[in-house]
């Protein structure tokens, strides 16, 4: 009898442990390979060159730098979604600094050059975002919350007004950010812009405000279905400690692209995941 008892005990234990093992393998559903996520890195090397944006984008300077292709995904959290083909796109990005200024280069495909921004037509745009504080939460990427972010947004219409010295097409435009998504026709009157790039701060969705000191210069050129934009800003912010200072080391950034002809404006854009800048 002893043998039977031990045998039954062993069988029961084995069965239970087998069940536990099977259950544990499936406790998050069918087991799959988990992909590793790595934050892509962008080298910001030192180059003893300076670009005068008035002359152009200096393609010969940029040619020397290796490009990074960053995947963009259309922002799907807020409805409605555009009836377009392809929610996924990519942007080419390069960067360098000259110990005085820092330069960013963004290039992405776009069938049409849209430089008018008003209530029914929207301008193409692109932006780079930097969290002001060092420790960021990953979800800060959604228009920055919990920590302040500094957004440099280059807009096609502002570029046109600034560089081509043309007056704005209309007096009012629409540019809603959350939470005015459903109030589609909420026009905002145009303010006089100095530069082609808006230097903005945001702490949370709906809190985008232009900075007192606009420090960023930028220019964009559309050619053969490709936009190219370059940002330029002194390494050290004029705001001192309160601003984003690019010192040697690592810093997070993120990118965004607006395609005006598809109806992109405000919160409707394509965004990237975090990109780690390696400032040398």
């Amino acid at each position: 009898m002893k043998k039977t008892v031990y045998f039954i005990t062993f069988v029961l234990l084995a069965a239970f442990l087998g069940l536990v093992y099977y259950g544990a393998r499936h406790w998050r559903g069918m087991p799959v390979q988990i992909e590793r996520f790595e934050t892509p890195a962008l080298n910001v090397a030192f180059m003893d060159k300076d670009i005068d944006l008035a002359q152009g984008l200096a393609p010969e300077v940029w040619q020397e730098i290796k490009l990074q292709e960053i995947k963009l995904m259309y922002q799907v959290t807020a409805l409605p979604w555009p009836k377009i083909k392809g929610m996924l796109s990519a942007v080419t990005v390069k960067a360098f600094h000259s110990k005085e200024n820092i330069y960013f280069y963004m290039s992405w495909p776009d069938d049409t050059e849209d430089r008018i921004h008003e209530t029914t037509q929207f301008s193409d745009a692109c932006a780079i975002m930097f969290p002001v504080e060092k420790d960021v939460q990953p979800h800060t990427i959604m228009m920055g919350f919990l920590g302040r972010v500094n957004i440099w947004q280059w807009k096609g219409n502002q570029d046109r007004e600034y560089w081509q010295k043309e007056s704005p097409q209309t007096k009012a435009y629409v540019d809603y950010y959350y939470p005015f998504e459903d109030k589609e026709l909420f026009p905002v009157s145009q303010h006089v812009t100095k530069f082609a790039v808006n230097d903005l701060l945001a702490i949370r969705v709906g809190t985008i405000t232009p900075k007192d000191v606009q420090e960023v210069m930028g220019k964009g050129v559309w050619e053969n279905g490709v936009w190219t934009a370059v940002f330029k800003r002194p390494l050290k912010s004029l705001e001192g400690e309160n601003g984003v200072n690019f010192i040697s080391g690592k810093r997070l950034s993120a990118l965004a692209v607006w395609n005006g002809s598809k109806g992109d404006r405000g919160g409707r854009k394509s965004i990237s995941d975090w990109l780690e800048l390696n400032i040398q």
């Binding site: 009898m1 939460q137 919350f145």
Partner: protein, 634 residues
């Protein structure tokens, strides 16, 4: 001049003066000028920052809710207002704090495993309930002192609250249908099979549920919300080991031992039939086992697969113990739930007792112990013919089935009768009042404290510790150490201190300190029952609506069996909850005071010693009840 010789009028003046002073205190804490208050509350798994908000009655309160990781909600008990926030989109809430007291605010959107326990506290002063609670405790204590200090001699007959004789018994099995039911071999088999069916669903739901949301899982909700609440609030205090009667865990073991499921087969258990070692024939294994099971409370109460592992393991151990040991050794000495059920069953209203001891004296052999063709000898290895405590009786009713004289009864008795039962002539080693039972009562209080602070308190770092977010001294190890210190050192130590003071005050020379300690620990039986009951209210009222969802959709597969799957989370009675919790706590104190004085008379030789020895314990009970009222509403 001894206090006891003061005339009664002085006592009256003391009471009136006390009432007057308390009403002044109450009046002083009146509301101040109403203001507009704004709070920015950050929500993160599983706590809020700030976790404690204080406002005054009449203030207009505005809350901005910011989520730091995932979709969180914010619901205020008692007010019923709520909002929620996704990361990046804040929530806003405005209300006027027109009710005063302490209210929990909790998360209203499933955000993670510990979602139902993501709680913070809102204090709206003046916190009158806290004042009235303390007042109630002090009043009860004072009344007890007044009554007991008047006594001139020991009570000849112990009476519950001086009204109901403690030895009163009413045989319910006088009623033929009840007796016929209990004598049938289908009872309690049918309730057991029903519970087996429920447990099959529970185990399957736990297995399938994996690491999904516990609040939408049949296993987690039925066991930790429904069963636990029913157990602590109704089954144990009223009926004693009612769950043991219909528990499906030993069914397979019984079947293997007996060879038959329902009919009467061999009396001797198949299997190795070993006898549980004498040294462990007490509540100590259960004290330790139950405490060890609480190490994992942060996992199995919230994760479905962990519930599966726990219950599966218990069933497995039940079967294996039945193979190796005799009869219901598992139920008696290994089942984690058995310990407090056994101890607290001594408080309950029901029990199985023999009616006429003369019949039993002449009956040889005693079939209630050895069994006959009608039933088995007591599987709990009790001696039904002279059983006078519920501790080790599992209400299986075999003795009613086997007794040829129908001399066994199911009796109705007053609360706490068994706590005063005398030691029997043929008492086995384990069935007398001793330190193991004392420690069971004490550790239950300590475990309540850990559970309440972690699962119904505003302390996020405690929840992190319980769920082993980190393993070091500030994490899981710290939780184990803190649990051990409170359960085995601090709380028993506090009783020990007051037991020593009691012995000192009594001026008794012969009484043993250990006896004082053990006897007075039984006061903590009604206290434990009351505070666990109040804790259960805090579980069922906010989370009871999940039960409606899981009966329709047990596995989160999108079923809708009874049409209740889309009922949203709806807390109920949350405003009434703190009042009920205070009332239940005071109810427990009432019994503790009544029993305590009786224990004092049992422990000490003469009335003078008993009255003097009672005072430190009275003070101890007052202090711990103020502490409990503070935990619930302060």
């Amino acid at each position: 001049m001894s206090v006891y010789r003061l005339p009664f009028t002085v006592y009256r003046k003391i009471v009136v003066g006390f009432l007057f002073l308390s009403s002044i205190f109450f009046f002083l804490s009146s509301p101040s000028f109403a203001a507009e208050r704004f709070f920015e509350v950050k929500a993160k798994k599983f706590s809020y920052t700030p976790n404690i908000i204080k406002v005054n009655k009449g203030d207009k309160v505005s809350i901005r809710l910011i989520s730091e990781d995932v979709h969180h909600g914010f619901f205020v008990d008692g007010y019923g207002v709520k909002t929620s926030a996704h990361p990046g989109m804040e929530g806003a809430l405005s209300f006027t704090a027109d009710k005063s007291g302490r209210f929990s605010f909790r998360c209203s959107v499933t955000c993670g495993s510990l979602h139902p326990y993501m709680i913070g506290y809102l204090y709206v002063s003046p916190n009158n309930l806290w004042v009235w609670g303390v007042f109630g405790v002090l009043a009860l204590g004072l009344i007890s002192w007044l009554i007991t200090s008047k006594k001139k001699q020991k009570d000849e007959k112990l009476k519950l609250f001086g009204i109901i004789p403690l030895e009163w018994r009413f045989p319910l099995t006088k009623f033929k249908p009840l007796r016929a039911l209990l004598k049938s071999r289908w009872f309690p088999f049918l309730p057991i099979v029903f519970n087996l069916f429920i447990f099959t669903i529970i185990l399957l739901a736990g297995f399938i549920g994996g690491l999904g949301a516990g609040n939408y899982n049949f296993g987690v909700m039925i066991v930790w919300i429904l069963w636990w609440v029913l157990l602590m609030m109704f089954m144990v205090p009223l009926i004693g080991r009612f769950w043991c009667m219909m528990c499906p865990f030993p069914l397979i073991g019984d079947w293997i031992q007996r060879g038959k499921l329902i009919n009467v087969g061999k009396q001797k258990s198949w299997g190795l039939g070993k006898r549980w070692p004498n040294k462990l024939r007490n509540l100590w294994p259960l004290v330790i086992l139950f405490w060890v099971s609480t190490w994992f409370s942060g996992f199995f109460t919230v994760k479905p697969f962990a519930t599966f592992i726990l219950l599966g393991a218990i069933i497995l151990i039940a079967i294996i113990i039945a193979l190796f040991f005799e009869k219901r050794t598992f139920c008696l000495f290994v089942c984690p739930v058995s310990g407090f059920q056994g101890l607290y069953a001594n408080f309950s209203l029901f029990g199985v007792r023999s009616r006429d001891p003369e019949i039993c004296k002449k009956h040889v052999p005693k079939t209630c112990v050895v069994g006959n063709e009608k039933g088995y000898g007591c599987p709990w290895m009790e001696l039904p013919y002279e059983m006078n405590r519920n501790t080790y009786c599992g209400l299986c009713f075999e003795c009613l089935k086997t007794c040829p004289y129908d001399n066994m009864d199911l009796v109705l008795k007053p609360f706490g009768q068994d706590l005063f039962a005398e030691r029997r002539r043929t008492d086995d080693v384990y069935n007398r009042r001793s330190t193991d039972e004392a420690y069971k009562a004490l550790t239950m209080i300590g475990i309540f404290l850990s559970f309440f602070l972690a699962f119904q308190g505003p302390y996020g770092h405690l929840r992190d510790m319980v769920t082993a977010k980190t393993f070091g001294l500030h994490g899981y190890l710290g939780y184990l150490l803190e649990s051990f210190t409170i359960d085995f050192l601090l709380i028993p130590g506090s009783l020990f201190l007051f037991a020593w003071l009691s012995k000192l005050a009594s001026r008794s020379k012969e009484v043993k300190l250990k006896d004082v300690f053990v006897n007075f620990s039984y006061c903590l039986v009604p206290v434990g029952i009351a505070i666990w009951g109040a804790f259960s209210l805090g579980i069922i009222f906010p989370n009871g609506s999940y039960l409606l969802h899981i009966i329709s959709d047990p596995f989160s597969w999108g079923w809708n069996l009874f049409g209740t799957a889309s009922i949203p989370w709806t807390p109920f009675f949350t405003g009434l909850m703190p009042y009920l919790q205070v009332l239940v706590t005071l109810g427990g104190m009432l019994f503790a005071l009544d029993f305590g004085y009786k224990f004092s008379q049992r422990t000490y030789k003469d009335i003078g010693e008993a009255k003097r020895g009672w005072i430190p314990i009275l003070i101890y009970l007052i202090l711990i009840h103020i502490f409990f009222v503070r935990i619930f509403v302060g």
